[in-house]
């Protein structure tokens, strides 16, 4: 038997017993996600710093590495993640306006776009592996291209984009769970903010990619050199 709502509405499940009302509960949930995002920013920030340090040490090798990555795949993935982020933002807004089915449809779009992102990333990894580019400077590619620093570029590429892909998978799992939650009819209008908390994470994953894309696909020194 759930405790009576503490927000005075008497609606069961409106707010958990330890919150004064729904507004406070929503604020606590959003703040919790923001603090988690801040910790994640520090994790990626350390890797960005590492990339900057090695790029400063081996500028030519990093340009060569960027030139070797398929720019069109990175650009396509950027577009997919931006579209998915936009769809997630609209899905959140629509759920707040009690447009449940439209919100659910947009969440399906988010899931499709995120899955397409991972599929393209998988194709890209497979292409690199076929060329003999493996993390840690392993693989015949580095015997044919013995430039100092190139192994470090591709190691960072695998670590940073791989860590990001893990975040995409977690975000997709969260989005799938919320889609199921809405589709099951158990979602109450006053709890729409919960989707907003999940989309905050999805937008952060998008934001990280906005930096990974130029670092690994664009900054090759002009003309892809």
């Amino acid at each position: 038997m759930p405790p009576p709502a503490a927000d005075g509405t008497g609606a069961p499940g409106a707010a958990a017993g330890h919150f004064a009302d729904l507004a406070q509960q929503e604020h606590a949930a959003r703040l919790g996600m923001w603090i988690f995002i801040a910790s994640e920013a520090l994790l990626f920030g350390a890797l960005f710093g590492l990339y900057g340090a090695y790029r400063a040490a081996y500028p030519d090798a990093f340009r060569e590495g960027v030139g070797h990555n398929p720019m069109w795949m990175g650009t396509l993935n950027t577009g997919l993640l931006l579209l998915s982020s936009g769809a997630a933002a609209i899905a959140e807004n629509l759920l707040e306006h009690r447009r449940r089915r439209a919100s659910l449809g947009l969440l399906a779009v988010v899931l499709a776009l995120g899955t397409a992102f991972l599929a393209i990333k998988g194709v890209e990894y497979a292409s690199h592996v076929r060329e003999g580019i493996l993390p840690g400077g392993a693989g015949p590619f580095f015997d044919e291209h013995p430039r100092a620093g190139l192994a470090m570029f591709f190691t960072l590429y695998y670590v940073m984009t791989g860590l990001h892909a893990l975040h995409v998978i977690v975000g997709l799992a969260a989005m799938a769970w919320f889609a199921w939650w809405i589709a099951s009819g158990r979602q109450r209008p006053e709890h729409a903010y919960r989707l907003g908390v999940a989309t905050l994470y999805w937008h952060f994953v998008d934001m990280v990619w906005l930096f990974l894309w130029p670092m690994f696909y664009l900054m090759g020194g002009g003309g892809g050199s």
């Binding site: 995002i37 937008h203 934001m207």
Partner: protein, 106 residues
């Protein structure tokens, strides 16, 4: 209701346009400014995502404090790392088979 769709769509249009601009500029020789420009565009895009999609424009408060604190910490970290790299160039030999992290190989 219309605003709930229009504002994110407008932001999405800006983000896609900036993505196109960034991709195009990466093919143009900019005499050393390519990196700075690509990162500047990324910062602008991240700001649009934070302000519109993450609603910082409407909900300034503890969320903004958390995000700005994280950004400040990352900036401090990167600045000190950059200072380290700039000031110890003479200490780390850079060359074939002698790079940092993979001594004696590649």
């Amino acid at each position: 209701m219309r605003e709930a769709v229009r504002t994110p769509l407008l932001a999405l249009g800006v983000l896609l346009a900036l993505t196109g601009a960034s991709a195009w500029l990466s093919r143009v020789p900019l005499h050393g400014w390519e990196t700075a420009l690509a990162l500047a565009i990324a910062v602008v895009k991240a700001a649009v995502v934070a302000l519109v999609f993450m609603r910082l424009w409407r909900r300034r408060g503890t969320g903004a404090v958390a995000l700005l604190s994280a950004a400040a910490m990352v900036a401090i970290l990167v600045a000190f790392m950059a200072a380290d790299i700039v000031t110890r160039t003479g200490l780390v030999p850079v060359g074939e088979g002698n790079e940092v992290g993979a001594p004696g190989r590649r």
